[in-house]
Symmetry: C2
Subunit: 411 residues, 2 copies
C-alpha cells in the first residue's frame, strides 16, 4: 500500500482521483502497487463526495505525514504551487504535476531540488495532456541528437482555427463557440495570446536541449489578429493556418524558440491536426520525423498522464535521471529575428500594379497570392527565405503598400 | 565503459554501429555511459571497414565473454537468432533486438527466460522502426485500460497503396517501383501477403493485453488482390484503402486480432498516413485515442531504436518489469469471424437492377456505390454492420451476382 496526496480538486485533480478509482484493478495488477489517496487539499468543501473524509485545507498535514510518498499537484498557477512543491520535494516526497506554468517557470530549480533530495519531479501531463510526449522524447534522445521540435500545442486555438478554416466562422464567433463548448475559459487570453503554447514549448525545448528556456525568452504571438481573409489566402496556396510552437538548435548550440501562427502546407502531417487535437513533431538525426498525436487536454486524458507519473514515482521511489535540465549560460537563446524564414504578408495599396512591381523589385522570387472576390485595394504575397530581421526591414521600406498582417510560413 | 556485441551486420546491424559512433558524444554525455562495440558477429568479411578487427564468425566468443553485458540481435529470421538469444539471456546478458519474427513467435518464452535470469529482453525496434511505440504503450497502460490498437504497420504496402490511390498506378507497377526504390525486397511476399504486419500486431496485442498472441492466431490477409477499381469505389465513398493491423479486447476478455486491407474514412487521421510511413493508434479508456507516427523502417531510424534499448539495458543491468506478457490460456483469442464489421463487396452481375434489389432485400441499409465509367456488369456496395460470419453467409446465398472482392470497412 502506498499513500499519495492530491493538491487541488479541480478538473484534473478530481480526474486523478477518478482514474485511480476506476482503473484500480488494472493499475494494481499491472504495477503490483496498491495506490491509495490519503489526502485531497482544497479550500472548497465537497461534502457529497464518497471520499469527502479525505479532504483537508491544511497543507501542513500533507507535508508533515511521512506515510505520504507521492504528491500530485493540480492546483495550477505559480503560487502557492511553487512553494508547496518545493517543500514536498525537500520533505522527501516525489511530485507529479500537470502545471505547465510551474514547470516552464521553475523547472530547472525544481528538478535540481528533486535530484538533491533523491526524489522524482515528473510532469508528463504538462504537455499534450494525455499524449505520452516527454518520456518518448527522452527515449528518442537516448540515441538521437534532436535538432527540432514543432508542435500544435494548444487545443483551444486549434479548435478556433479549424472552425475558421472549415466553416468560414469568424474568429469572434469561433471563440464564443469554444467557450460555449467548454474548450475556452471565460478569460481566454492565455490560450488565444499564445502563452499556454509558450509554456509548453519551453518545457519541450528545455528537455530536448538540456537547458532551461524561460517563457520570457520565447517570442510569443497569438491568433487574435487572424482574419478569414488570411485563411482564404493561405488556402489558395494549399496551406492552413496553425498556431505553432517551435524550438530548434542552431549551429553553435544556440536555441531558437517561438510561438506564432504560421502557414502550414497541406502536404505536412501537421496540417490535418484539427479541432482540439494536439501533435508534436520531433526531428532527430537518426530517427527522422516522429509525430505524437492525441487530445491535448481534457479531464481524463490529462489525469491519466498524471496517474502514469504517480505510478512511475511509486515504482521508483528514489530519483530517476532521465528527466533533467539545468539553467543555461547567458545568451544561449538566440534572437528570433535572426531566424531564416519566409513570411506571408497581407497589405493595402492604392495602386496594385505599382505595389506588385515594388514587391518583385524588393523580393526576388516573391509569390503574389490571389483569392476569389479579392478586394481591389488588397494584396497578399509570400516572401523568399531570409532572416526575419532583413525581411521586416525590407517590408518597412515599401512605399506603395501598407502592411496589415505578417505571418510565418512553416518550412 | 560497457562492452556490447552486435550479431548480424546487415542493414540494421551496421546502422547500430553507425549510430553509436556518430552520436557517441551525445549518448555518452546524456547517459553517462561509454558504450563500446567489442564484437560483431557475421559470416561475411568486411576487411575495408575501420572496425574490421571486431568481426568474429564464432558466437561462442560472444556468449563466453563476461565483459559483454548487452547483445544486439539484428540477424533476422528465427534460426539461429532464437537459439543465440536464449543462450545470451541464460548467460546473464541483456538482449536488444529488431527481429519481429523472433518476438512474435517466441516473445513470451524469451521474456520469461530474461526475467528468470534478471536481465532485459527489449525490442522497441521490432514495431514501427524508430517510432517510440512499445514504451509509450507501457506508459499509457500504466493508468489506462487499453481496449484497442489499430495501425498501419507496414511501410512497403502503404507505399504501394499510396501510389495506387494518388497516381492510379496498378498494383504490379507500384510493387516494381517499390522494389526499384529499395522499399520492397526481391521476394516481397512477407510484406504484400501481410505477414510482416501480422508479426507486429502480435507484438502490440501481446503487450497491450498481457497474453501472447501468435501469428497463426491472427487472420491475415494481404493487398495482392486490391485493384484500382476497388481504390476508385473506396474513393467514391470518401475512403482510402489501407492495410490495417488491429487488435482489441472483447467483452469477456477474449482478444480479437487481424490484419486486412480495409476502407478507411478520409475523416480518420490514419487515412493521411502515406508512403512508407507507419502509424499506430492506441485507444484507452481514460486517454482517448493517441497516435504515434513516423518512418516505420529504414536503417538509421530502426538502428536508433535498437540503440535506445541498448542504453536502457546498460543503465539498468538487472531486469526491468515494464515489458512483460505470458502465454494465454486455451481459447483466449476469439474467432475473427465473430467480429462485428461492415464489408465492402464488389461483384459481377448479368442483371444490375435485379442484383441491386436482391442486395437491398438481403441487407437492410446496404449502400450501393458508384464510380465514373462503371462497367455495366459491375456492382459494389457496403453492407450494414453484423458479424463477419453472418455477412459472408448472406453474401454466399446471393443468386444474382458473383462476388469478386470483399474488404473490411474500418469503423
Amino acid at each position: 500500500m502506498v499513500y499519495i496526496a492530491v493538491m487541488g480538486h479541480g478538473v484534473v485533480g478530481s480526474g486523478v482521483v477518478e482514474v485511480l478509482q476506476q482503473n484500480h484493478a488494472g493499475i494494481t495488477s499491472r504495477s503490483k502497487e496498491d495506490i491509495r489517496v490519503k489526502y485531497i487539499l482544497d479550500l472548497r468543501e465537497f461534502p457529497d463526495l464518497p471520499y469527502a473524509d479525505r479532504f483537508t485545507k491544511d497543507f501542513e498535514v500533507i507535508v508533515g505525514d511521512p506515510e505520504v510518498k507521492v504528491v500530485v499537484e493540480t492546483m495550477g498557477g505559480l503560487h502557492p504551487a511553487y512553494e508547496y512543491v518545493k517543500r514536498c520535494l525537500r520533505a522527501g516526497k516525489s511530485v507529479a504535476t500537470s502545471n505547465k506554468e510551474l514547470v516552464a517557470c521553475k523547472g530547472a530549480e525544481l528538478l535540481r531540488i528533486a535530484r538533491d533530495n533523491n526524489v522524482n519531479f515528473l510532469f508528463e501531463a504538462s504537455v499534450g495532456g494525455g499524449i505520452p510526449i516527454l518520456r518518448p522524447i527522452s527515449q528518442c534522445l537516448a540515441a538521437n541528437d534532436i535538432f527540432e521540435i514543432v508542435g500544435i500545442l494548444n487545443g483551444t486555438t486549434n479548435f478556433i482555427l479549424t472552425k475558421m478554416i472549415r466553416e468560414q466562422m469568424s474568429f469572434a464567433d469561433a471563440l464564443t463557440l469554444a467557450q460555449e463548448l467548454g474548450y475556452a475559459e471565460r478569460d481566454p487570453s492565455a490560450d488565444i495570446e499564445g502563452q499556454d503554447a509558450c509554456r509548453k514549448i519551453c518545457i519541450l525545448a528545455s528537455l530536448a536541449f538540456g537547458k532551461h528556456v524561460y517563457p520570457e525568452q520565447v517570442g510569443t504571438d497569438g491568433i487574435t489578429k487572424i482574419t478569414l481573409t488570411d485563411v482564404e489566402y493561405a488556402g489558395s496556396d494549399n496551406c492552413v493556418i496553425k498556431l505553432i510552437g517551435r524550438a530548434k538548435i542552431l549551429d553553435g548550440g544556440h536555441i531558437f524558440s517561438a510561438v506564432y501562427p504560421a502557414l502550414v502546407s497541406r502536404e505536412s502531417q501537421l496540417s490535418s491536426v484539427d479541432d482540439v487535437f494536439n501533435a508534436v513533431m520531433v526531428r532527430g538525426n537518426a530517427i527522422g520525423d516522429v509525430i505524437f498525436y492525441g487530445r491535448g487536454a481534457g479531464k481524463l486524458p490529462t489525469a491519466s498522464a498524471v496517474v502514469a507519473d504517480v505510478i512511475d514515482c511509486v515504482k521508483h521511489l528514489s530519483a530517476r535521471k532521465y528527466l533533467f535540465w539545468e539553467d543555461g549560460k547567458e545568451g544561449y537563446v538566440s534572437d528570433p529575428l535572426e531566424d531564416n524564414t519566409r513570411l506571408y504578408v497581407r497589405a493595402k495599396t492604392e495602386d496594385k500594379t505599382a505595389a506588385a512591381e515594388e514587391i518583385r523589385r524588393t523580393f526576388e522570387d516573391a509569390r503574389i497570392l490571389s483569392r476569389p472576390c479579392e478586394d481591389r485595394q488588397e494584396l497578399a504575397f509570400i516572401t523568399p527565405m531570409s532572416t526575419e530581421r532583413t525581411l521586416r526591414r525590407e517590408l518597412a521600406a515599401l512605399t506603395s503598400l501598407r502592411v496589415e498582417s505578417i505571418l510565418h510560413v512553416l518550412d
